[in-house]
Amino acid sequence: MIEVTGLRVRGRLRDCSLHVPAGRVAALVGPNGAGKTTLLHTVVGLITPDRGTVRATGDIAFVAQDKPLYDSFTVAETLTLGRRLNRRWDQRLATARLAELGIPLDRRVGRLSGGQQAQVALTLALARRPDQLVLDEPLANLDPLARHEVMRSLMSAVAETGMGVMISSHVVSDLVDTCDWLVVLNAGRVQVSGDIEDLLAGHRMMTGPPELTLTATVVGGSRTEREQSWLVRGAPVADPRWRTRAVGLDDLVMAYLRSPEAAALPRLTGVQA
């Protein structure tokens, strides 16, 4: 469980509040510069906020964006470092995981592929057997296949341990099917926080002729001479002149990011999702 209340970090975060229940795989998305890294650093205790509180249950392991690995170390030496630096350390888990991934222990880290380096960094974090794993852009600079492999092995670890995960990314498609909680951060503010299925079920895309007036909670959309199209929150509009379709995670995130004044924070405001 991660709970953030009224968080303020000067110039970076403004009054951020969110609650992610235990065992969830939460996606933290937002454009570059939105404050994702600052929020994660505050959650894991690397930054002391100017105002507000952070509560997280259990042990947190954190993997920073610039993977904290030494290029000149072998993989085995990297594990030794991890073992020496951490009180809780599962060497068997680490070696078994690397063997399964086919990463040789005697290889220098600098000679591994980007995907393998990401896996080593993830293995170091998992060997601490955390209750909560926090990953800052673990998929950045990886090719699509490596991204898939990292997410696959991460999901497998979640299946085995039931740990919670918070993972930041600016590529929403990487998080579809793997994350079950969504946090959208935009210009230092939390815009959305909620269960992904509830959010998708609670929004829809409505398209209709330009003269119609829409009576619904509009998040965002567009209007042309021939038609208007809106992403709305809440119950569908009964008027048959509106065509309704379900929204995907991409649609939802994009609509909120384009309308910074809109917000969906069901847990905090009681707004019907």
């Binding site: 795989v25 696959r152 999901m155 497998s156 299946a159 099917d177 793997t178 079950d180 379900a246």
Partner: protein, 126 residues
């Protein structure tokens, strides 16, 4: 055993795809009472999806009485769907294959096949 796969562009939610694939396997007899469904971890390893999605699909199948979860052991098929036995399935499948070959020889495209099959199903039911 069942081989799950995902159609990511289908618009059908992932959990529902898993439910539908188990039902399809039950109808075709590839899954039979007593068979074990893959563990959440096995499905996750295969599809790279959130384990909660697999558990949700299994809960739905359990709610419908099709499978039963035995703590610490796994999830097992409780009953099949449809009245036909495996022998019936094999026989019907053979005659349908023959029909499809004849239709193709007559120059029908796949779309025509589906349309004709659908029309006959509706006709006979009515």
């Amino acid at each position: 055993m069942i081989d799950f796969h995902l159609d990511r562009g289908s618009g059908v939610s992932t959990y529902l795809q898993l439910v539908q694939q188990v039902k399809q396997a039950l109808r075709l007899g590839t899954l039979r009472p007593g068979d074990q469904l893959p563990t959440a971890r096995e499905v996750v390893e295969l599809l790279a999806i959130n384990p909660n999605t697999v558990l949700k699909a299994y809960r739905e199948l359990e709610r419908e009485g099709l499978v039963v979860g035995r703590p610490g052991m796994g999830t097992f098929v409780e009953r099949s769907i449809g009245g036909a036995t495996l022998a019936d399935h094999t026989r019907l499948r053979a005659s349908l294959s023959a029909w499809v070959r004849q239709a193709r020889e007559a120059g029908l495209a796949d779309e025509d096949l589906h349309a004709l099959f659908g029309a006959v199903v509706r006709e006979v039911a009515a």
